[in-house]
Each structure stands twice: as C-alpha cells, then as structure tokens.
C-alpha cells in the first residue's frame, strides 16, 4: 500500500495538482488575490465602458417631438389651477385629486381614484422577503381623510391591443402642495393630454398622480399591489370615493351629478413595459436645466440599462439637458483619490509611450468623478433600499426610474419655466415614444451594472472579477489550515503512539473539525436569534432608538452568555486553526450566497470580512516571524476586529461623512430599522454572515 501511493499521486489529474499547489502556497496566494481584488475594485472606473442603446426597436429620438408651446401654455394653466386650489381650499386634499381627475377625463382618459390606507411599515421576521402582509381595510367610513387618494388616468392606445402599458407617475402631497409638485403635475398633464391626441400609441398610457402625504413610495407601492392583486369580493367595508367627495364638496352644485361608483372600479391596462416617475425639483442653479436619474431599487436591483440610456440620449442629444446620476460629493474633493488618479494618469501615459498602440486615455479628473459615482452606485445597491418610488415597480419586475427635473432658473420665473417645461415635456414624450416602439419587455441590455457616469457603466462581467479575487483565497486558506492541522496531528500522534493501533489517529485526524463546527453552528444560531430580537424590541412601547439599541445589545449578550453556559461541555477541545478553517468556510459560503442576492452587499462586505478572516490568529500565540511583521499583524488584527464590528463600522462611516460629534448610540438601531423596514437583504447579511464571523474572529483573537 505504501509503495503504490507515490506513483498514484504523481498520476493525479492536473486540477488536483494545481489545487494542492495553491493550498500549499495559501499565504502567498491569498495576499496576491486580496491585493489584486482591491486594485481591480479601484480600477473599475477606468474599466467602465460607454453606454449604448442596445435594443434596436427603441430608436430614441427618431421621431420629431410633438410637444409644443401650446402644451406648455396648457401646463402653466393647469399648474396655476392646482396651486391655487391647493392654497385656497382646506387641507383635505380631495380638491386637488378631483381637479386632476376632471382634467384627465376632459382629455378623454378613463379615470378612477385609487384609495389606500397608510400602513406603518413594520418588521415581520417570518415574511422577510415576501410582501407586506395584507390586513383588512378598516371599516371606518370617516376614514377617507386617513386614506390617500390618487387619481389615475388611462389613455387607451387607439389601435393598440391593450395588453401593454407605460406608466407615468407624479407624486404630490395633497395636504400641502408645493409649487414644484404642481409643476410636475402640470408637466405630466400636458404630456398626457398630448398623448391622448396622438395616433402612434401602441401601449396604453397610465398616469398615476400619487398622493404622497404618507410618502411617495407607499402610495405607488399600494397602487401596484392592487393592480397586480385583483380583489373580486364585493367588499362591504370599502369606502366609495363618492363619500369622500360628498363630504368635502357637498356645497358644490355640480356635485350632485358626480357618479362616484364609476370612479371606484380599479381599471387596468395590461403589462407595464416601463414606468417613469417624474418630479420637478428646485435644486441649486446650474447653467442648464438638469435631470437627475435615480435607478436603484430594492436589494440592488437595477432597471434595464437601456431605459437609462434612452433617457440620457434624449436628454443630452435632443433637449440639451444636463444629466446626473447619484455621486458622493465628498469623494470629489478627496486628496487621496486625486492622487491615485494622477498616478494612474502618469502610469497610463508611460504605458502609451511604450506602446503606441494602446489607447488607455485615463484622465485624473474623470477617474475621481467616476470613482465618486461608482461609490454612490455601489453604496445604494449595497444598502438595498430603493432610492425613490421607482423601487416599487422593480418589485414587480417592471423597469422604472425616477427623473428629477430641475430648471436652471427659479420656479417663479415664467420664461425660464416655460422653456424648462418645453424641454422636459419633449424629453418625456420622447422616452414614451421610444418605449412605445419596444416589443415585449426590456431585455436586450444589462440588468447587473454599476454606473460611473450617466453614460458609462461597469458590467457584471467586469465588476465580479474584483469580488471573485477577494473571495477566492477563502476556500484555499480553509483547505490549507485544515490539511496542515490534520497532518500535524496525525504526525504527532504517529510519532508519540507508534506501537498503538491507528484507530484514534484517524478519528482525531478526520473528525476533529466537528468540535469547531459545533461552536460555529452555535454562534450562527446566536446570530439568528439576535437578528430576530428587533421584532420583540420594537414591541416595547415608549422607547427611543437609544433605549431600543441598548435593550437589543443587552438581550443579545444575555443570550450569548446563556448559550455558552448551556453548551459549554459540547464545544471543547478544538484547535484554533480548525476553528478558523470552519469559520472561513462558513464565511465564504455566506458571501457567495449573498453575492447572488445582492452583489454589491457581498462586494462591500467582502472588503472588510475577507482580510479579517484571513489574518486572524490568537494574540497570545507566538509566530515564527521577525518582530516587526508580527507586531504589524497583531495591530492589524485588533484594528480589523474593531472596525468590522457592525455598529463600529457604521459609527466610523457616519463620523467620516457627517463629523464625529453626530454619532449616537441609537444610530445602529435606526439603521437596522431602516433596513428591515425596506426588506433589505443587507440586514440579513450583517446579522447572519458578518456578525457571527466577527464574533468568531474575536473568539480566535482571544484564544489561549
């Protein structure tokens, strides 16, 4: 037996030999991989490509816009009507809804009013990824003021098949309407009335004037939910829209002819191809009218890149607007980034001078801007919380974006506003006409990407390299640790107990890891309980974020103490190397799973988690390296253990962004509340992958 082994090992397949080579040089491989991963991440802005409209059918800008000055006049008149109604009448909000509905009807649209009950979002641990549980509509007839009422108009495509639609959303606060909201309503109305006259519609147009008094997202999400979950029961408790209007407008004579029942039917218009949320904002002045695009939906989902492409193309090349996507402004002034950019610029110049064929063309300013935009794109994807009402659409697999249009002049400047409305109207018309040309759904372009500029993107094929490089060392190091401890143990046992039989050798060699696995399992169990605790903590009345945070952490510690007490006898006799190996295996599984659910979270998480997992070793354990690297390793270990503690990392991040005096104990509670309310998988990642991993690392650090 012993003689046959060496030739068998020599004959083993290439992949096995390659694997064992990597495992035997695990330290070197992991350092190389981590460094390469970080460098790739840093280079992503350089690797970004220009966007292009991938779908042939879209043909943005191929038709002349029909939106004219006449439509602008109409929009202005409507804005004046709305604004005056909003200012003069009482704050019930029904007046504006009624006015919008009437105008919708006047252009020949089908109109109804969508009522929704505001529900405070709560943490429901058992239905985390599913939609919010449906509760019965309260049987309160006087509740129409508690409900939001959104007027909805549908234009049927004259020769369309009625199976598809495009949705236009304008959120407005019915209780306290601002001029910018009135402007966005006016803009949408003028586009809507234009679309009611055109002959080229192939998809129905739905205009949802979303009542945003309880938040923009809530009203859009509840409308979408009702759109996709038809109720067929004749709900007796349902309040007719009639009542709401009669209550507030019984003094109006024409009200008697108002047929409320007709406005209660929930009308539909088929599958939604795309949705545009249009908002007029009053932002800081710039040279040109400007449009900000928000695209991130829940859990890092993005709309198809083609939708952003057509908006960008039409805005820049047809209407001369300035397009922006989210950027971290503080990074633009970062000296470190500028320095990196300049170094890169110099390096690429050098490379270009060496080989004239290379056209790298890295510009320092572009790099800094690209990095700031990329960081923002990655952050909002990683957070997993939608950046606007468009997020509600993505939950139903509808491509949607929010366009925040802001004029270059003040909102009261009539000339400036007129030209702004003309451009914006043409932009919206162009986007709708382009989407109208679409067959079926957006499918041609990317769904997984980061934006580094409005017209530059990093596709999944590029950005996953960085993550793969970061995660690759984990299984290698785990295997290396496991095999080295197994070898060491068996060698020592063999040398010590040569005469005895080999039974205990095999047992300790192959099943040794079970002791460590038990501990890892217990810690993960603890993390699971900790992740569920907020549900109970939030049930405690009269608490603020600080007390909630304190009770959460105290109860967590208590449970940890109880768990360790109860299971003390089970989790003994492990080696720290094996424990580290099992912990790394668990972490790599967690990271890989998370990368499927929300790639950005996994990417950001791996930057902290991977170095911590790879470097950790007991502080009291001596290592056979010179004193300086050993000390450095210890310092790094302690630093990482502090930084990677989730509340600590949040506090550091907040301190960097807003100054360290703003840090509060309750911050982490608020942050996690924010995450779970939005059903963000990032919460699960932090609680179920990051936290146990961090605890185990600390455990190893303090190992005797």
């Amino acid at each position: 037996m012993e003689e046959q082994k060496p030739p068998a090992a020599r004959k083993s397949r290439l992949i096995v030999r390659l694997g064992s080579f990597l495992v035997s040089h695990s330290a070197f491989v992991s350092v190389i991989c981590c460094v390469a991963g970080c460098i790739t991440l840093l280079l992503l802005p350089v690797l970004a490509k220009n966007t292009y409209v991938s779908e042939n059918a879209l043909m943005p800008g191929s038709a002349n816009p029909m939106f004219s000055n006449q439509d602008v006049v109409e929009a202005n008149r409507f804005v004046k009507d709305i604004y005056e109604t909003g200012i003069l009448k009482d704050g019930s909000g029904m007046e504006i809804a009624r006015l919008i509905g009437k105008h919708m009807e006047d252009v020949g649209a089908e109109v109804y009013y969508h009522k929704f009950k505001y529900r405070n979002l709560q943490f429901h641990p058992l239905c985390f990824f599913s939609s919010i549980p449906r509760t019965a509509v309260p049987q309160n007839s006087s509740a129409c003021t508690l409900n939001g009422v959104s007027p909805v108009g549908i234009i049927r495509a004259p020769r369309g098949d009625g199976k598809e639609s495009i949705v236009l959303v304008t959120p407005y606060n019915s209780e306290n309407i601002k001029l910018n909201e009135a402007l966005s309503l006016g803009l949408a109305y003028s586009v809507f009335s234009l679309l009611s006259r055109v002959v080229w519609l192939a998809k129905d147009i739905v205009w949802l004037a979303a009542d945003s008094r309880y938040g923009e997202y809530t009203s859009v999400a509840s409308w979408l939910k009702d759109y996709h979950n038809p109720t067929f029961s004749s709900d007796s408790g349902k309040i007719g829209i009639e009542m709401c209007f009669e209550k507030t407008e019984n003094h109006v004579e024409e009200q008697s002819s108002f047929d409320g029942a007709a406005y209660d039917d929930f009308k539909r218009a088929g599958t939604m191809s795309a949705a545009l949320v249009v908002k007029v904002m009053d932002k800081e002045r710039s040279e040109r009218d400007r449009v900000d695009i928000y695209a991130e939906a829940s859990n890092g989902q993005m709309p198809n890149l083609d939708l952003i492409n057509i908006v960008h193309y039409l805005a820049v090349h047809r209407q001369g607007l300035h397009v922006r996507v989210g950027t971290f402004g503080f990074l633009l002034n970062s000296a470190l980034l500028k320095h990196v950019g300049k170094t890169l610029q110099r390096l690429t110049r050098l490379a270009e001078s060496l080989n004239l064929g290379w056209k790298l063309g890295v510009n320092s300013a572009d790099f800094v801007e690209g990095t700031a935009t990329l960081a923002s794109s990655m952050y909002y994807q990683a957070l997993g919380v939608p950046t606007g009402p468009h997020g509600a659409f993505r939950d139903f697999q509808i491509d949607a974006i929010t366009m925040e249009l802001s004029p270059r002049t003040s909102l009261t400047n009539d000339n400036g506003i007129s030209s702004f409305l003309l451009r914006s109207g043409r932009l919206i018309e162009g986007v709708i006409r382009s989407v109208n040309n679409l067959l079926e759904k957006f499918h041609q372009s990317f769904f997984l990407y980061f934006l580094t500029a409005p017209n530059k993107f990093v596709s999944v094929g590029v950005y996953m390299i960085a993550f793969a490089l970061l995660v690759a060392p984990l299984p290698i190091v785990a295997a290396a640790l496991f095999s080295s401890t197994a070898n060491a143990r068996s060698l020592t046992t063999i040398s010590n107990n040569k005469p005895t039989n080999s039974k205990p050798v095999t047992r300790s060699g192959s099943w040794n890891w079970l002791h460590s696995a038990k501990l890892v399992f217990l810690v993960h169990l603890w993390a699971l309980i900790v992740s569920l605790l907020p549900y109970f903590v939030s049930q405690i009345p009269h608490t603020n974020s600080t007390t909630s945070m304190l009770s959460w952490s105290l109860s967590s510690l208590l449970i940890l103490y109880l768990l360790t007490r109860l299971t003390k006898s089970y989790v003994e006799g492990y080696q720290w190397e094996v424990l580290k190996s099992v912990m790394i295996a668990a972490a790599s599984i967690g990271l890989s799973l998370m990368s499927i659910i929300n790639f950005s979270t996994a990417q950001v998480g791996s930057i902290l988690l991977v170095p911590m997992c790879l470097m950790v070793r007991p502080l009291k354990q001596p290592i056979q390296v010179p004193i300086f690297p050993a000390a450095l390793l210890k310092i790094l270990n302690i630093l990482l253990a502090v930084v990677a503690f989730p509340p600590a990392s949040l506090a550091i991040l907040k301190g960097c962004l807003r100054g360290f005096e703003s840090i509060n104990i309750g911050d982490f509670w608020e942050w996690s509340e924010f995450l779970w309310v939005w059903n963000s998988a990032t919460y699960l990642f932090v609680a179920l992958v990051h936290l146990p991993c961090w605890y185990l690392c600390v455990h190893i650090l303090l190992h005797n």
Binding site: N56, A57, M59, S62, A63, N64, A157, P158, R159, G160, D161, V199, W200, L201, A202, R433, N436, N437, L439
Partner: protein
C-alpha cells in the same frame, strides 16, 4: 409545319362535312402531334416569353419598416413596368401599414415627403406575416407545393421565363435572416436555383438582395443564366437612406432607394440596360459597394435591357370568341417590350426558330381542344354543328 394548319383549314371550309369526318381529322392530328412536339426547339434556345417577380421582405417588427417599404417600392416599380399582379409573388413578413405605431394608418411610404403611398388599393400580398418562411420561399422557387396551395401563390414559370428575385432584410455572412427565427443560407439559395434550372423553371434569373454582406449570399451559386446583384460586399453593412421623423423610423434602404431612383426615370419602353443600372450605383452614396456576380450570365450586360427582368414580355393570342379559335387560324401577335432592336438583329435565326415553336404550341392547343370535344361527345356535336352552320350557311 405551318403549312399543316393551312391544309386543314380549307377542307373544313369548302365541304359540308359531318362530325365523323371531323373525328377523322382529329385522329390524323393526333397522329401528327408527336412529330410536332419533337420539333420544339431545345431548352437552351427557348425564347424569353414571360416574366415573373418574387419579392421578399424577410423581417418583422416596426423598426424594420424600411424593409417592407423597400419591397413594396420594388413591387410598384415592376408593376408599373409591366409585370402583371398574377406573375408577382409578394412576400411581406409583417404588416407595417396596420401597425398601431404607424402615424399614417393603412399607408406605407418610402420617402419622408409622403408623396407616394405604396400600400394603395392595388396591392396583392401572396405570403404575409408568419407565412414568410425559408420553407415557403424555397417551395415557391422550386415549385414543390402542397396540392392545396392556390395557383396565385405559385411561381408558374417555365423555360422561357425571366425571373426577378428581390430579397431584403437583415443578413450576414452567407445568410439572410427570416423572421428572427431562421435563416436562408447561401447553400439553400444555390440549391433552390439549381433545382429550378434542372426543372426548366427559368431562362434567366436575376437575384437582387438588399442586406448587409449581400454579396456573400451568392457565393455558392453555379447555375448558368443567373445574374446576382447585392447591395454590399462581405464585411460591409447596408445602410438605410433616411429617417422619416414623422413616422419615426427609417423608411428606405440606400441600395433600394438608388435602384428606385434609376427606375423612376424609365417607362416600359425604355432601352436602359442592366449595365447602366449597375453603373448607376455610387459607393459613396450607398455607403457600401454594390456587388454583381455575372460569371454565370452569358449575355453582355450593356445589351440586356432592364425591362428584360423588371418589365414584362407577353405573348398575346388574339381571338374573337372562345370557340372560333378551333377553326380559324390563330393570329399570333407578339408584343415584346424588349425595346432594343439590337437583340433581334443579333440572332435572327433564333427568332425564326422561336416562331416555329409558337406554331407548334398553337397546334398542341388545338389538339387539346379536340380531345376535350371527344370526351364530351354530345356536347361537341351540337357545338360543332353550330360552328359549321356559321361557316357554311
């Protein structure tokens, strides 16, 4: 052979003959006929005596509006130059006129000036929508249809036919895409043309293709009598000519646009040659290089009028009434819109042989009529009696 009919005719006219005598003549004619058919000249020298056009638009969807407009423009042109509707097989993969995105419902234009509606009252589409498949095109070309397919959907060409095959759509290296789901490969096309050649389904075939890398589609052709024009060479794209910003799509391709521009100046009596058509393509305007393959084609292009393919030659048999044709000598009138006298002068013998062929065909027709009389004997008796009484009062 022409004298044979001469001899038959007086015998009927001069003697009051009975129907029995007529049957005798019939038998005589039937014995004579085999010798007559054997005298029909061989295929290669068959005179060009009819024209067909197969016009194919292979792409669906609104953004491919221009392909339908291309095909309809060609349809209009060949109709204007004299090919009748029953000899045009029009295949349109989609219906742009009734697309809900069309700003001009039920109309199709190939120019942004909207002067000419290509989709007027007089358009007969033979294959539409999902009927436009590679299989159906190959069936049309090779004539291998299922029995239920009506005559109007068949290419009933013969050895004297000049066929124009025009195709437009999205193509690539050695293929032309059909309907987003399948493609016609250059081998398929070459195979179909070879089958057509073997089945004597054409005398000359002009294949005109407006697609990217159109030239590659002809690379496998090797049947004689085939002339091929493509809008672009290998590795080149064919571009659309202009965008109609009212309709919001490109309405015509460059190659087709300049082809049409050439034909708009012509009428059915024009003498313009294929050579002049080919030279009219300016690579700078096309943004691609028009390619023509003529190694399989014998005649010099400068001497072939475009109307040989885009127009129509027709043989008209003038008769006063349906029945008089039996007894009276058929007056064969040839109205050939060749327009080019040179062609006739080059080969007078050819024309003579051709005349003989026409006579032989006429005789064959007479015989077939007789045979039908024989079958319906009673009916024939009464009819012949009336005929005879008409001639011999």
């Amino acid at each position: 052979m022409a004298s044979m009919t001469q001899r038959l005719k007086p015998s009927w006219r001069n003697h009051p003959i009975s129907s029995h005598l007529l049957i005798f003549h019939l038998v005589m004619a039937s014995t004579l006929l085999p010798s007559l058919t054997s005298a029909i000249p061989s295929f290669s020298s068959t005179m060009h005596n009819n024209n067909w056009a197969v016009l194919v638009c292979t792409s669906r969807f609104w953004f491919n509006y221009r392909h339908m407009a291309n095909t309809l423009s060609l349809y209009r042109t060949v109709k204007r130059l004299g090919i009748p509707d029953e000899r045009i097989i029009l295949m349109l993969a989609d219906d742009m006129a009734c697309n809900s995105r069309n700003t001009y419902p039920a109309q199709v234009f190939n120019n942004e000036n909207h002067q000419l509606n290509l989709y007027g009252d007089n358009v007969e589409v033979d294959y539409r929508g999902y009927e436009v498949t590679v299989e159906n095109l190959l069936r049309v070309l090779t004539g291998r249809h299922e029995s239920a397919v009506p005559r109007s959907k068949r290419l009933l060409s013969d050895e004297g036919s000049h066929i124009l095959l025009y195709m437009t759509g999205h193509g690539g290296d050695e293929f032309l895409k059909f309907q987003d789901s399948e493609e016609l490969q250059s081998h398929d096309l070459a195979d179909a043309v070879k089958q057509m050649k073997e089945k004597h389904r054409f005398k000359e075939l002009l294949i005109m293709v407006d697609t990217c890398q159109a030239a590659t589609l002809f690379s496998q052709l090797h049947s004689p009598g085939v002339l091929a024009i493509g809008s672009s060479k290998k590795g080149e794209n064919s571009y659309s000519h202009h965008l109609d910003s009212d309709i919001g799509v490109s309405v015509v391709d460059r190659f087709t646009f300049y082809t049409l521009a050439f034909f708009e100046k012509l009428n059915m009596y024009s003498n313009a040659s294929l050579g002049s058509l080919f030279h009219s393509y300016n690579p700078n305007l096309l943004m691609s290089t028009a390619f023509y393959r003529m190694d399989l084609y014998q005649r010099p292009l400068d001497e072939v009028p475009v109307t040989n393919f885009f127009g129509s030659v027709m043989k008209t048999i003038h008769t006063d009434s349906p029945f008089r044709v039996i007894s009276s000598q058929p007056k064969v009138k040839e109205s050939i819109f060749l327009g080019d006298d040179k062609v006739k002068e080059i080969d007078k013998r050819n024309i003579k042989v051709e005349n003989d062929a026409i006579v032989a065909l006429t005789l064959k027709k007479v015989f077939l009529s007789f045979r039908s009389f024989f079958t319906y004997y009673v009916l024939a008796n009464t009819i012949i009696d009336t005929v005879l009484s008409y001639f011999c009062p």
